[in-house]
């Protein structure tokens, strides 16, 4: 298949940014490509346990996510609800694992069942499946899998385009158990590149080689080697010197370097990623919407964009980004709902007034937690702090070690003494309900990040209705109704939406440069120009 060149223009602060979600496919075979993984070495390559940029090239998902965020058939020829609570997946018959064995319905059942474990990243999307293994996910034919639900679920299909739908070999998985995806055991998937025994040298690199029998055509790159460079300036030098061929998610801070003279160039693609901060406690002033609205009014978004992402971002009105519904069926309704929301404005007087109105005791400093060592977050924290100061809020910054910061999200004791948490998040698949469910629903209904104890029955009702809707339009209307209410409550104060930044050597082309790279084999078309 051919990937369309999908371009678009965005206007940020008077400068034109050309947005490219997929580069033209490469034409020449290339022996070896060295790719830098900016996030550092992954802990595992198991698609059920981790999300990183290596897995999409190794493991296919059932449905294929396109650079423009639309969903096409993939390993699954068809995957549809046949009735409100029955979902049938029909597999292609020509897909084989790296070892040559064909993909069977049993493999898919095994793969999907991985996500019914509460520890899985995708558990939320699988929550409405009938918990009885005998009836929930079953093989109903050699190439057919049927999934039964306890209630209609409008989000399930989208999840199959992400790693929730990753296809793994059952035999391999059962033989290796917990070790699947580790350097020792490796992996068995169907993707365009295969991880061989010993291909992963912990601490230095992961070597993958082309899967010549790939069902969607063999890749042009013979060997794809991933290295791990988390230091921004080292990476920038290595990329512009041509020592590393490319990297996804390079730092916007090095924009000038990347756009200057160098071995390659920077491609800017659509993303669902955004910076935001939200309350971490139900008892502090941070739990009061007025305080959050006040901060929202006190932060100059243009300055924020200029400072933190070097102009490579845009103002985002609410937590759910536009790109996430871009290619959904009822996108028009979503867009209308989004457009109707108020854009954040700078109004210090109104903000100060809100703080006073809130009736909160603002003499106690509010603590905002950010991960240590990341420049973007240091800047974000400084900007929040400075904004707070202008409206009479004393804000303290707590830079946390990565592990402590990570623990904030599931260990309530770690959140003690923390009022706000600033994060960067993204959605790897289309769909709008992910964030709202996590942040606005009551905790027992899946709102595990709803730390401020937000509870609005109307919002809850609309969100549930949206999920259980059986047609896209109802889902869209229910969602926008909920959004209209929760957006002004600022459960996350959205600071900026960002772009996906990909740097690639000028001799190469063919990379998926939108956020879809997290869920699709982005290097499939990579090759020489």
């Amino acid at each position: 298949a051919c990937t369309p060149r999908d371009t678009d223009n965005a206007d940020v602060d008077g400068e034109d940014i050309e947005i490219v979600d997929a580069q033209p496919a490469g034409t020449e075979p290339v022996d070896e490509v060295t790719w830098a993984i900016v996030e550092g070495e992954p802990a595992t390559l198991n698609p059920a346990a981790s999300a990183n940029l290596i897995i999409p090239n190794l493991c296919d998902n059932l449905l294929s996510l396109q650079p423009g965020f639309s969903i096409e058939p993939g390993v699954a020829e068809r995957a549809e609800f046949v009735d409100p609570v029955t979902f049938v997946i029909t597999l292609r018959d020509d897909v084989t694992f790296w070892d040559g064995s064909p993909v069977t319905a049993d493999d898919v059942v095994y793969s999907l069942q991985q996500n019914t474990n509460p520890a899985s990243q995708w558990y939320g999307a699988f929550a409405l499946i009938d918990p009885d293994p005998a009836t929930g996910i079953v093989a109903t034919g050699p190439n057919e899998v049927t999934v039964r639900f306890v209630a209609p679920d409008s989000t399930f299909r989208d999840a199959l385009a992400g790693q929730g739908g990753a296809v793994m070999q059952k035999a391999f998985g059962e033989a290796n158990g917990d070790a699947v995806g580790t350097p020792d055991a490796g992996l068995m998937c169907t993707g365009p590149f295969e991880l061989q025994d010993g291909g992963w040298t912990p601490g230095s690199e992961i070597v993958t080689i082309a899967n010549e029998d790939y069902w969607n055509g063999a890749p042009l790159v013979g060997t794809m080697t991933y290295t791990f460079v988390s230091d921004g300036s080292t990476l920038a030098t290595a990329l512009t010197q041509g020592e590393i061929d490319g990297a996804i998610n390079v730092s916007p801070g090095s924009r000038a370097v990347f756009q200057g003279d160098g071995a390659g160039s920077l491609t800017i693609g659509h993303s669902t990623a955004s910076y935001s901060f939200g309350p971490a406690s139900a008892t502090s002033a941070a739990a009061n919407p007025k305080i959050r609205q006040a901060l929202n009014l006190a932060i100059d978004r243009d300055q924020y964009l200029e400072t933190v992402v070097n102009g490579l971002g845009y103002v985002q009105k609410t937590i759910v980004p536009e790109f996430s519904f871009q290619s959904m069926e009822a996108s028009g309704i979503y867009q209308e709902g989004y457009d109707a929301l108020a854009a954040p404005e700078l109004d210090l007087e109104a903000a100060t007034a809100l703080v006073e109105e809130s009736g909160e005791d603002v003499s106690r400093p509010l603590v905002v937690a950010v991960p240590a060592g990341a420049k973007e977050f240091q800047q974000t924290a400084a900007i929040i702090q400075s904004a707070g100061k202008q409206i009479g809020l004393d804000i303290r910054i707590d830079e946390m070690q990565a592990s402590d910061f990570g623990a904030l999200f599931y260990d309530p004791s770690k959140r003690e003494g923390v009022d706000f948490v600033a994060t960067q998040g993204y959605l790897e698949t289309p769909g709008v309900l992910g964030y709202p469910s996590l942040f606005m629903l009551p905790p027992e209904m899946g709102g595990i990040f709803n730390w401020s104890g937000y509870e609005n029955p109307e919002v809850t009702e609309h969100l549930l209705a949206a999920r259980n809707a059986t047609d896209p339009e109802t889902a869209a209307r229910e969602f926008t109704a909920a959004q209209e209410i929760f957006a002004p409550d600022m459960l996350q104060v959205t600071l900026a939406g960002t772009y996906q930044l990909t740097y690639l050597n000028d001799e190469l082309s063919g990379v998926t440069t939108s956020i879809a790279a997290y869920s699709s084999p982005w290097a499939l078309h990579l090759g020489g120009k």
Partner: protein, 287 residues
């Protein structure tokens, strides 16, 4: 105007002699003096609020309004360097003073009591010596919480072995000298011998080590605050400024790293030179 000229005009004869004989030393003393003054008076000297964002453009080049330029948040780098001097200079000073008190205390105890006390202290010092400073730093953070206190205490502990070993050797050598026996025979009490004779005898050698330790502490604290364990933002501190500004060097906006780095290097250099001279004097006296 040369150093010698300054010297002739303002400072007394002894200093003038030093200036003529050892201009490097004089420059070092003056540099350190100026930096200490800045550390004390930084907030009053700073032209801008060091934490105020967007007082200039982002990553602005040096100009008349902002002689050191502005950083990635549009803050005035000169103001941040001036205000940051306090933490940057005093934190290592506290590290050095603390580790010296602890180290010298342990060493004197070991030298004085000998026997199993000495053995135990030697072992303790060995163990501390063997544990990476970072582990101690992380431990200190869990005990003392974030902020400047934890890394200062951590480094103070981590530096104990160096100073303790040095002092232990010197104290043992000093205690073996006949004048200590003479003092005992005279009936001078042990604390008096220790504090009136032994401790003063240690001063030159300890002072020299303190100067060297100061430089190391400054560099180590910088590394620790880079890891997010040290001075909490946005309070300026040279080490974290260098660390945060690193990326700017390659991107063509090196000011944020370069100016604090220059100050770090000058301070460490000045203290190092002063320390080297003190060592020289101490050695001369020993002869």
């Amino acid at each position: 105007m040369s150093v010698a000229q300054i010297a002739n005009g303002t400072v007394p004869a002894a200093a003038r002699r030093v200036a003529r004989r050892d201009p490097t030393f004089l420059v070092a003393v003056i540099a350190f003096g100026v930096i200490s003054m800045v550390a004390l008076a930084g907030p009053w000297l700073a032209p801008y609020d060091p934490n105020e964002l967007y007082v200039g453009s982002l990553n602005g080049a040096p100009s008349l309004e902002h002689p050191f330029g502005t950083d990635d948040l549009g803050r005035d780098i000169l103001s941040r360097v001036l205000v940051g001097a306090a933490a940057s200079v005093f934190a290592p000073a506290v590290v050095v003073v603390l580790s010296t008190i602890l180290g010298v205390g342990l060493a004197l105890a070991a030298a004085w009591f000998g026997g199993w006390v000495s053995g135990g202290i030697a072992r303790l010092v060995d163990v501390i010596f063997a544990i990476p400073g970072l582990v101690i730093a992380v431990l200190a953070v869990t005990i003392f919480g974030k902020g400047l206190a934890a890394p200062v205490i951590a480094l103070a502990i981590a530096y104990i072995p160096i100073i303790a070993r040095l002092t232990r050797t010197a104290a043992a050598r000093e205690l073996a000298k006949p004048y200590i026996a003479a003092l005992r025979v005279q009936g001078v009490s042990s604390p008096a011998i220790c504090f009136r004779h032994l401790v003063p005898a240690m001063i030159p050698i300890v002072a020299a080590q303190m100067a060297v330790g100061f430089g190391y502490a400054m560099l180590d604290l910088a590394a620790i605050s880079f890891l997010g364990l040290g001075q909490q933002p946005p309070a300026p501190d040279w080490g974290s400024m260098i660390a945060v500004g690193q990326a700017g060097i390659l991107a063509g906006a090196p000011e944020q790293s370069v100016f604090p780095a220059i100050f770090v290097v000058i301070t460490v250099l000045a203290v190092g030179i002063i320390g080297a001279r003190v060592t020289d004097w101490a050695e001369e006296k020993e002869r």
